[in-house]
Structure formats: C-alpha cells, structure tokens
Assembly symmetry: C2
Homo-oligomer: 395 residues x 2
C-alpha cells in the first residue's frame, strides 16, 4: 500500500459512538429534536464558569497581542505552570514545583506524550476494563502492547487477583481513570492503597519502575461526599494526565497538563522524556491564550449540580424500572446492564424506542451500555417513559 | 533505561536557538534590553489583523458558549473547512472540496500527521538543505529516514542533479518549504515544474506514488512582486501543510490545516489515513474557538510592510558592509555567509558585538547563519554599527 495501512484503518473505521451520533442527527431531522433521546456523546452540557469568558475578554483587550498569541516555551508559560502546581498542592501532601508540569493540548495529548515518553518497543501497559476506547490506540502508537485487567463484578473496583496475573516483567505502566469513563465509578482509597502495594511489590520483583498513569479529566465531577484519592499521595512513580475539558467545559479548546510526581524515580529525566515525546509528536506548545486563562482559573470548576440532578433522576428511575445500574459517583456516565441480549442487540432495540446509548464492547466489557447524561434535564425526564417501555419489552 | 531513550534525548538536548534565546535574556538583564540585538527566534513581531480580535470578542459574546468551546469533529468544523477550501480555490486552478481539508493544531501537527499517514517503516523522505531542523524529528517519529538533498549554490533553488541521485525506490515523500526557513528563498515556477517532472518520472520508474509535502507557513509573507507557485497546480500527488502562525500572527494558538490535493492518487484514502494518524498521535480536534475564527478570517494576512522594511534595511546595509547574503524574497529570515570561520565561531564573535544569530549547521548547511528579522525596526537600525564592527574584525 502506498500509504500507512494502520493509519488508514484507524481513520476509515467509524467509531460506534460517532455512528450513533450521526444516526441521531438524521433521526432528529425526521421526527423532531425533542423526540430523540441521544445519550451517545460525552460533550459537556454545562456552561463554563462566568470567569472564563470574563478572563478571555480581558486578555483580548490587554495591550500586548503578539505576546498573548505568541509561542510559549514548549513546557508552557511559567505563570500557568505555577498556577497548576499551586492547584495540585491543595491535593498533594508533598510539594510539586512548576518544573514538573508540562502543559498539553488536552487529555489525549497528555496520554500519547506520556506513553511515548515511557515506552520502549515490546513494553506492556495494563488498563482496567471498562476503559476509554482510545487507550488502545494511544498505547499502540507508543509501540507498547495493551493488557486488559477485568474489574471486580458489581463494584467495578480493581480485581486484584486478576491484576497480579496481568503484571509481567514487561509491564511499563498501568493506566487508571477515576472517576471512570464509562462507569462513573471512583476508585476508593483502599483500592488505590492496594494497587500501590502490588505495584511496589512488582517493581521490586522485576527490578524496574512501573509507572502509574492517572487519567483524571473527571476529577472534579464528583457527587455527594465522595472523594477522589490523589494518586501522588499513595504511589511514588505516578504521573497525572489532566484536561480542563470537563472541569471548565472547554473540550474543544484542547488545554490540559502532565504532572510528574516529584517522588517519581528520576523525575527530572522522566520530565525531559515528556518534553522530547511532545516535540516528536508535533506539539509545539499548548494553545497560548488558554494557557493564560488557566493561570487565572486553575481552581475553578463548572457547576456540577445539573449533572448530579440528571444522575439522580436517571439512576433512581432506571432502578425502579428494573434496570441493573452501576452506582455512579462521578463523571457524567451511567453504566447499565443489558437485559439478556448482547449490547449490540439491546442498543438496536433501544433505538426503536428512540433511545441512543453506546454498547460497551469496545470499552472492554460485554453486556453493558453507556448512557452519557450530560444533556438537558428535559431530555432525561422525557426519556423515562421510553426506558420503561424498553424494559417492559423484555418482561 | 526505564524510559524511552530517544524521547529523553530529544527532550534533554537544548536546541541552539533556545540556548541563544536564554543567553539573550540573561545578557539583556545585565546590560539593558536595547543593547542586545537578538535575532534568534522566529516569533512574529507584527500584530494580528484587527478583525482577529474583533471576531474573537464577537464569538465570546455569542449566546452558545458550550458550542463555541465544544468538540468539533476530528477533521474540523464544517464551516471552517469550507472557508479554507474557498480560500485555497483562489490559488488552485482545480477545485478542492472541504472533505479533503483536515484542521490541525498548527504546522508541526500538520507535518507529523501527514508523515505518519504516509510512511511505513524504512521509507525515505527527501528534504532540501537548508531545512527547518524539526523535519528530522518529525520524519523519524513516523518511522522513516531523512535523506538530505543539497541546494544549488548562490540561488538556493533545488540542485536537480543531486535530487536525481537522492530519490530511490524507498522514497515516499519529498518536503519543500517555500518561502524557506532559514533562507527566505521562494522556489520559482521553473523549479516547481522541474521538480514535478522529476517526481513524475521517478513515480513511473518505481511504480508507486511519491508525495510532495509542501510546508507553507510563510506563503503570504512575500515581498515585492514575487509569487509563490501553488503546488497543486503543478503536481498531482501533493499535500499542503499550513499554519496561520505567521499569516495571522497566532503562533501560540496552534491552528492550521492539511489539504490533500483532489488530484492525488486515492485522495479519499490518503485523507482517511490523515484522520487515523491524527487520532493516534493524540489530536482530538484543532482548538475550537480558533477554528471558528478561521471560518471568518481565512483570507486575511498581517501587514507585511514592517517585515519588508526590516529586510530592506538589513539586506542593503549588510551587503554594503561586505557580507554575502542570500537574497530573501519571503518569510522573515536572512541567510548570511560567515567570514572564513565555522558558523559556531562566527556566532561567538557576533555575540561579543552583542549580536545573536543562529548557526545553520542543524539546518543542513555549514558556514551560514540565520538572522530572524521579525523584530522592531529600531533593533535593526541600532544593530547596524555592530554588524559593521563585526565585519571589520575580519578585514
């Protein structure tokens, strides 16, 4: 083939999510916007905090336009990195300095850069089902191999017996994502502690570092009294990959960071490798005006009460209709067990009731669908009779 | 090594340009901002057109903030791709449609994505000296090998005898950059025609496509009556990599595109491979608000008269001082031949005269330095006695 086969394959295969979304647009045109209940996409539905708009307009009205839009250093603007470090130090019992913060074009970039910084050909990277589908693409881009560890049933915490068997001498890294896409589950402190203990043991056994990559775009989207344990407090060789896509509702603006724990073995070297990986992948600097925004807004979070209200209505009602749901403490996803059928068949039946949900096979678990409830409240409320009718079809 | 050696190496080796820039900052602190003549960085010094600021503020004041900052499709917002296609069709004698335009996070991303879309392991990619230093990094990231073709002396057009010898059965692509960084030279129509003829011949000889990648961030920075021939008019298998960094003075905002020629063999497949490569490298979409800006500003260009004035003062004076300069028709760089010494020694001597210029060895030519004249006019004017003193030191 004249071109790169793998790139062609990745670009020509439409994702299930994208296909559903396109179907939804078509269907809405046919029967009306409010008659289709599209829960396919994880696109934030809550506005950014007011200070975001105010700050952007203030920056645009400042007197140095060439500096505002100019290159920053590859690692990021120093004031921005300082603000991120200050923000993280509210979670971290140690002290992280700006020189271990690397600003990125969002979470996907944070992950591809980190994986390329760490991985050598033939390395293995463990992910926990259910996992964000693109992890596979990113890990393979770094020349490493995906190893899937299955979750504990019902709670969707880590199955440690399974994990013990999945870590080998070739394991370079483990990726966690809590709150989780697609389950909404938060790993408890006890889960993180056990994970840390096992990784420490395996590091000793194999005589090399095993990095814990924590993908945290949903860190602030948490409901009730739940707490997301901050990994740097529990494990030395940890690297945090973050994005402001969800916490500030800026998914399209591509702004996030990588933070290497100061307790990480050879943290300075790991940081240099991050810089080199970013350079080779074609990331020159994170978008400059949004970096300057983060310097002033690193500690803000969108009003999550709308998401919580959606979750409560959906979870309570679906349970009462007989659906088995994983209890979601964060993010804006609800994982629902399919009645009897395969997820694909279940989703087709749901479509007949004008409900669009995503089968989770590509997330590494079968028999489940994901509901992205980052939609208007009325979409949730109006969808309920349709969910009920779908459940009754199975009785 | 626990981490990826190549990434570490790329991230820990400071570039000559970056080192000079840091030295300049230190030196300015010691002897005063106006006493150091820093020509190291290609950071635009001309403001964006007024409409850029006006449009951004208008967008921020529009009523749908979640849509403004939301994900676009991976290829880009459809209105933006339409505006880019319309803009290109003013240069192109054929007709390019939006479905062959892929919006990117700037020129570096355009190149890494295109190279990864095309290259298989062991492929070769020809670049013409002097070439932007990062080409080497980007080509190697795609698993391909860099082959350097030397320029014709004095004119810095292509040396076609050398090129004939550099293309082999393994050649997947050829990268041109006109107007050129670091020489400012524009490839003439006759150069592009001869290049096209040779590539067509080699395609027939080897029985596969050889892609012409045209890296054009300086396309609009042209002085006098000069014209930059648009490659799609001359060669079928061509792909344009563009960035608005220079034409709109937005280098830090990371906004550009890839345009696959509709005459390119299997253009749809090539476009799919571009989408797949972007996905695997971690590019989700180009920054959304700046995409919406481009939908309204694709045809604007900064006022290049300040750059032209700088060029004229610098070129005329340096020639009169006895410097041998390559005649620059575009971009904002001037290539100057070093007196006698190696470029490194010449640059050290220049530093003693408080002049900071970049040795071009990493650009693939020895005995030359690059002057980035995207600075204030007074910096140029005040530097002249220092350039004269440096020249006299060699007499």
């Amino acid at each position: 083939m004249d071109i790169n086969e793998k790139s062609y394959e990745l670009g020509s295969k439409r994702s299930v999510i994208r296909e559903l979304f396109e179907y939804g647009k078509k269907r809405k045109a046919e029967i009306g916007e409010d008659k289709v209940f599209d829960f396919s996409l994880g696109n934030p539905s809550v506005k950014p905090p007011k200070k975001v708009k105010d700050t952007l307009i203030k920056l645009l009205n400042s007197d140095n336009e060439t500096a505002l839009h100019g290159y920053t250093s590859a690692q990021g603007d120093i004031a921005t990195r300082g603000a991120v470090a200050d923000s993280l130090n509210k979670l971290y019992r140690g002290k992280i300095l700006p020189d271990l913060i690397y600003m990125t074009c969002g979470a996907a970039a944070s992950l591809t850069i980190t994986l390329k910084a760490l991985s050598n050909c033939g390395d293995e990277c463990v992910v926990f089902a259910p996992f964000f589908t693109e992890y596979r693409v990113f890990i393979e881009n770094a020349g490493a191999k995906v190893v899937v560890s299955k979750p504990e049933e019902k709670t969707f915490q880590i199955d440690f017996d399974d994990l013990q068997n999945k870590i080998t001498a070739k394991t370079k890294a483990v990726i966690i994502n809590s709150p989780n896409n697609p389950s909404g589950v938060i790993y408890t402190e006890s889960t993180i502690e056990r994970l840390s203990k096992i990784l420490n043991g395996k590091e000793k056994e194999y005589g090399h570092a095993i990095y814990l990559i924590s993908d945290e775009p949903y860190r602030e989207l948490v409901y009730g009294e739940k707490i997301v344990p901050f990994v740097m407090n529990y494990y030395q060789n940890s690297i945090v990959c973050y994005s402001y896509s969800k916490s500030l509702s800026l998914p399209g603006e591509r702004i996030g960071y990588i933070a290497v724990s100061p307790e990480c073995k050879g943290s300075g070297k790991v940081f240099n490798a991050v810089c080199g990986a970013g350079r080779s992948l074609g990331f020159v600097c994170a978008p400059s005006m949004f970096q300057k925004l983060i310097a002033e807004c690193a500690d803000l979070t969108v009003d999550v009460s709308a998401y919580k209200e959606n979750r409560d209505i959906l979870y309570e009602n679906l349970k009462s209709f007989g659906y088995e749901c994983v209890n979601p403490d964060g993010a804006f996803y609800l994982l629902v067990k399919c009645f009897g059928d395969s997820a694909a068949t279940f989703c087709e039946k749901a479509k007949k009731h004008e409900i669009l949900v995503v089968p989770c096979d590509d997330f590494g678990i079968s028999g489940y669908v994901r509901i992205a409830y980052c939609v208007k409240k009325e979409t949730i409320v109006n969808s309920l009779p349709h969910f009920l009718a779908l459940a009754e079809e199975y009785k």
